[in-house]
């Protein structure tokens, strides 16, 4: 007599891979109709999850193309998560090797950004930055302040202008987008519950990455001499909630 895991493997095979059904009650044609209801549910849940996570990808290629890609992904890369918000993590890697998308090299890159957006959406909250405290700090102590990337922020570099593409596809009327040569630097961050994406200039990205990597303010400033007003850039990134910092004597010190 087959064990429970063996029966479950056979059931999964019958639903997804048209495997045999001799362990179930009923004749084959009737069973096939009933198993098809499970198949619609299972694949429908996966496709629904992908559509929720990758709306810009869907807008870029249209519903029919996206659905075909989503079904193929679901077949080739079985879900291993019980929480569908975690489903589709490697959709970008799948799209990179998906033959029908061979002429759309930016598609996988947009998917990579959309997964980062989803991570920002569900990331931990942080207490708002104490900008007044930073401003009140004696000038000689400021260079030693250390920063970190906020939990709800992600940085992505790409050969494609991902931030521009993402922003343009938030609305129904999409303007033509030029692809100037990269690299392009995108920042995703959460503000008021919603995730936003914007492009950074190379020097801004350089400053952000140094600070996110834990560099002290003085060292980060020194690393981007081409940035005209690093304080203004820093204030903007902190106000967005993309960077956090710890004041000397504050928590963690």
């Amino acid at each position: 007599m087959p064990s429970l895991p063996e029966l479950q493997a056979a059931f999964a095979c019958a639903v997804l891979d048209a495997g045999g059904t001799d362990f179930l009650v009923g004749d084959a044609p009737a069973l096939e109709r009933r198993l098809a209801a499970y198949r619609r549910n299972v694949t429908g849940n996966w496709v629904h999850a992908l559509r929720a996570t990758y709306p810009v990808c869907e807008r870029l290629v249209g519903g029919a193309f996206f659905l075909a890609a989503a079904h193929r992904y679901a077949t080739e890369r079985p879900s291993t998560v019980g929480d569908l918000n975690e489903y589709g993590r490697d959709f970008d890697a799948f799209l990179r090797d998906y033959p029908p998308a061979a002429d759309l090299p930016y598609l996988a890159e947009v998917a990579r950004l959309e997964w980062a957006v989803q991570e920002c959406y569900y990331a931990a909250d942080v207490t708002p930055a104490d900008l007044a405290g930073l401003a009140a700090l004696p000038e000689e102590e400021r260079p030693a302040v250390c920063f970190a990337m906020a939990p709800a922020a992600r940085r992505i570099d790409s050969a494609f202008p991902l931030a521009r593409i993402w922003q343009a596809h938030q609305e129904a009327d999409v303007p033509a987008i030029e692809f100037p040569p990269g690299p392009h630097h995108a920042l995703a961050w959460r503000a008021g519950g919603r995730v936003l994406v914007d492009g950074l200039e190379p020097a801004e990205a350089g400053l952000f990455d140094r600070l996110a990597g834990g560099a002290a303010l003085a060292d980060a400033h020194a690393s981007v001499p081409q940035l005209a007003d690093p304080s203004a850039t820093l204030a903007r990134l902190v106000l967005r909630g993309a960077l956090t910092f710890t004041l000397p004597g504050g928590p963690g010190k």
């Binding site: 179930l24 996966w46 079985p78 998560v81 019980g82 569908l84 519950g193």
Partner: protein
Amino acid sequence: MLPACAGIGLRPPHHARVLAERPDLGWVEVHSENFFCAGGEALEFLEEVRRRHPVSLHGVGLSLGSPAGAPSRRHLAKLRQLADRIRPAAVSEHLSWSMVGERHLNDLLPLPHTDEALATVCERVRETQDALGRRLLVENVSSYVRFKDSPMAEWDFVAEVAQRTGCGILLDVNNIYVSARNHGFDPMAFVAAIPPGDVAEIHLAGHEETDGFLVDTHGRPVCDAVWDLYRRTLARTGPRPTLVEWDTDIPDLRVLLAEAAKADRMLEAPHALAA
């Protein structure tokens, strides 16, 4: 404890309106997995709802019918984290499986009703109750197919899980009706076999008929036959917290509230007090 009145399944399309209009809700139930996150607006929303109403956390991904493993323990850890944060009035899961090995089918699949499946489910229910430090409610699912080797009746299986683990039963009356029609048994035989004292919650929902069998779509109003089965269930159990679920083609909030009001009228009717 949930109040013995009607509540609604709260889904994202209604989140903003519930916050803004503060409708009169007895209690609400949400899918636990939608809030498996570290922070952000979803959790903030649920915490605000929790300040106003009793909240039930209803899981769909624990796969109680699969042997425990690393993925199920990770899932359980997330559920515990959410429960610690929300302090729900109830936590429930389905008597079904979705995981086999590393593969997850993300659906509520039926179990064979064997001693082995019973032992597996009971071990997982105990593990869950131990991790959460509270009683779990387990729900009977609808099914479209049956296993040949399934010696126990489903209702005996459900009752036995509660008997062995001390968990409560979330009796889904629509699921009983759907399975009864699909497999040709008397739905009241199911209801009659469940000890009334174990029934901690009742679910109501709509289904659809396709290809000569019933599919549990949660996309329609509760049908008359299910309302009738609900009335007869209440006559045995007495008033119980009752949820109206709607998950596909989700209608206007008013439609959902009208369904809940109908359940409330039945809960208040004298025959519901029989037990």
